[in-house]
């Protein structure tokens, strides 16, 4: 039922924090049906993205051991809850508030907004969509830090990540900060839905977390031999992958921030890249080890999704298939390299899926950018005077786009690696980051949370 206008105008009159209301100030401008459609679509997209949290939880739970299953689910549940409160209080403000030095936002704390609505997405709509991204960025590290991190220490990390570290990354680009200002020739940085801003940011945090924690007991033999620690449930993993897959249609499609005809184009590149990624990973792992590993197939599909996230609006279907396929191959090589060579213990492959493929996907824009999206300008005059070409290297756009993509990637990497590094160091020095060896062996469920994740009537071993 639509409400009396009086309610609206009333709301418009209120200012103080306690009276705050995202619907503030809708009196000036009479919203159009397109406004209603756009906002409704983005709320639906936000719900899809929030659903991804369940996907992350299941993938991580399935790829780790039964004795830690409750802890993993809990971490994914609570970092979403923490992200919601933190992003509402300060995160959204840091990300989208009035710019200060291209670095951080300075207003909109607690969604306080004095401006009047003039069409497009409301503050509430923007918040609900962006907070879902904040939750995702925070939860990526959870998988890499699985099976050995203290619960409260992880909570502190996810609070700082979603309240400050990630919002600043967002501000750098979507908030109109230093990355948004990057320009080389006519090429400006392009990351449509967050291969760099969300996924590589989460990936770098995951890398730092895994390094600070060190590997799980028994993961690497004294002789340096690598010992696989088998995930306890592939059905959980693949169910999670399916959930992430459909959630991604909200993640990428919603990033159009409008209900227009491009949403379907985005859905097509998203689906194709995901599928090509799964196929690429299966072929790569089967080639490497002779067996089509199920968990790797899941990683591959996610790799395809992460890889197309930056270019979903500017890359053609064929470009998406190539980008996704290579992302799938890359994730396999990366997982093996990080595990066997770097000996960094990432139980779920989060660093490879989100970090490495986030970087790849961002670079892919420099190669395959074909038509314009919200950020990439596909048409501009070239030195030789010719016009209207695409900015991607493979379409004659030259290397400018590629270089600017690289710069954006490096800025985000530097920021996240430094800040999370300091954060983990601080946590380690104070409340401690890792559980005791005995607890790790017995499992985190009982010692961190009081009871096993699977009841005594289900025979699972420590």
């Amino acid at each position: 039922m639509r409400r009396k206008v009086v309610a609206v105008s009333l709301v418009a009159m209120l200012g103080s924090l306690l009276l705050a209301n995202p619907a503030v100030a809708q009196d000036a401008y009479e919203p159009t049906i397109q406004d209603f459609l756009d906002n409704t679509w983005i709320v639906i997209a936000a719900a899809l993205v929030l659903f991804m949290q369940a996907g992350f939880a299941l993938v991580e739970a399935g790829l780790t051991r039964a004795k830690n299953v409750a802890n993993i689910m809990m971490k994914n549940l609570m970092d979403m809850a923490i992200a919601f409160i933190a992003f509402w209080a300060v995160g959204y403000a840091f990300a989208y508030g009035s710019d200060a030095g291209g670095f951080i936002g300075t207003d909109l704390f607690f969604l306080q907004d004095s401006s009047t609505y003039e069409g497009g997405l409301t503050l509430s709509t923007n918040f609900i969509f962006q907070v879902a991204f904040a939750g995702a960025a925070a939860t990526i590290a959870s998988g890499a830090m699985a099976e050995r991190t203290k619960f409260y220490s992880y909570a502190v990390f996810s609070l700082v990540m979603s309240a400050f570290i990630y919002p600043v990354v967002v501000h750098f680009f979507w908030g109109g900060g230093i990355i948004a200002d990057l320009q080389i020739g006519n090429a400006k940085f392009g990351d449509f839905a967050g291969s760099t801003i969300v996924h590589s940011a989460g990936g770098w945090a995951a890398l730092m977390g895994a390094i600070f924690l060190g590997p799980r007991i028994g993961k690497y033999g004294p002789d340096g031999s690598v010992r696989p620690i088998i995930g306890h449930s592939m059905p959980l993993v693949i169910t999670g992958v399916f959930i992430l897959f459909i959630g991604w249609f909200g993640f990428n499609g919603g990033s159009e921030l409008a209900a227009d005809l491009y949403v379907a184009d985005i859905a097509v590149t998203t689906g194709l890249a995901a599928s090509a990624g799964a196929i690429g990973a299966v072929l790569a792992i089967a080639f490497k080890s002779g067996k089509p590993d199920v968990g790797m197939a899941g990683n591959g599909l996610l790799a395809g999704l992460v890889s197309i996230t930056a270019g979903t609006g500017t890359i053609t279907p064929l470009g998406a298939v190539i980008t996704g396929f290579l992302g799938g191959v890359l994730v396999v090589l990366s997982v093996l390299f990080i595990d066997n060579k770097l000996k960094i213990d990432d139980p779920v492959g989060a660093i490879s899926v989100h970090g490495v493929c986030g970087v790849w996907g961002t670079l892919a824009v420099g190669l395959f950018a074909h038509h314009g999206d919200a950020f990439v300008d596909a048409a501009f005059p070239l030195e030789d005077g010719t016009e209207y070409t695409s900015s991607g290297l493979f379409y004659g756009g030259g290397v400018n786009q590629l270089i600017v993509q690289l710069l954006g990637i490096l800025i985000v990497a530097a920021w996240v690696l430094v800040t999370t590094g300091l954060l983990f160091a601080a946590i380690k020095a104070t409340i401690g980051l890792r559980v005791s060896a005995e607890e790790e062996m017995e499992g985190l469920d009982i010692l961190e949370h009081g009871a096993p994740g699977y009841g005594p009537d289900v025979s699972v071993l420590a």
């Binding site: 792992i285 080890s289 590993d293 396999v332 093996l336 595990d339």
Partner: protein
């Protein structure tokens, strides 16, 4: 009384159970176990890494019988559980001093 312990391949359980019924065995206790032996294990690969699995699934049967029945029972098991392939398992026989039926307190032969 004697306790006959047989370690067999899991999918032979039904055959062995029927064979034992055939020789008049009315009770037994089965346990899922893992066996290490000549059969060896197998290699698995997970996320590209190979690893060795030494213990293979087996079923252990425990049957307390009258000493005079030991022969026919072990023969019945051997006959039923044999596939001829390595890993068919073992049977070992150990002495039992007393057998008690909890429900009635009956002893030995009466308790079987």
């Amino acid at each position: 009384m004697q306790l006959i312990t047989a370690v067999i391949k899991p999918h032979m359980l039904d055959e062995v159970k029927e064979a034992l019924r055939g020789v008049g065995i009315s009770g037994m206790t089965a346990t899922e176990v893992k066996g290490f032996g000549r059969q060896g294990g197998h290699t698995e690969t997970y996320r590209g890494a190979e690893y060795q699995v030494d213990f293979v699934p087996k079923v252990k049967l425990e049957i307390v019988v009258d000493s005079q029945d030991v022969g026919k029972v072990t023969e019945a098991i051997t006959a039923a559980a044999q596939t001829g392939k390595i890993g068919d398992g073992k049977i070992w026989v150990t002495p039992v001093d007393t057998l008690i039926r909890i429900r009635t307190g009956e002893l030995n032969a009466d308790a079987v």
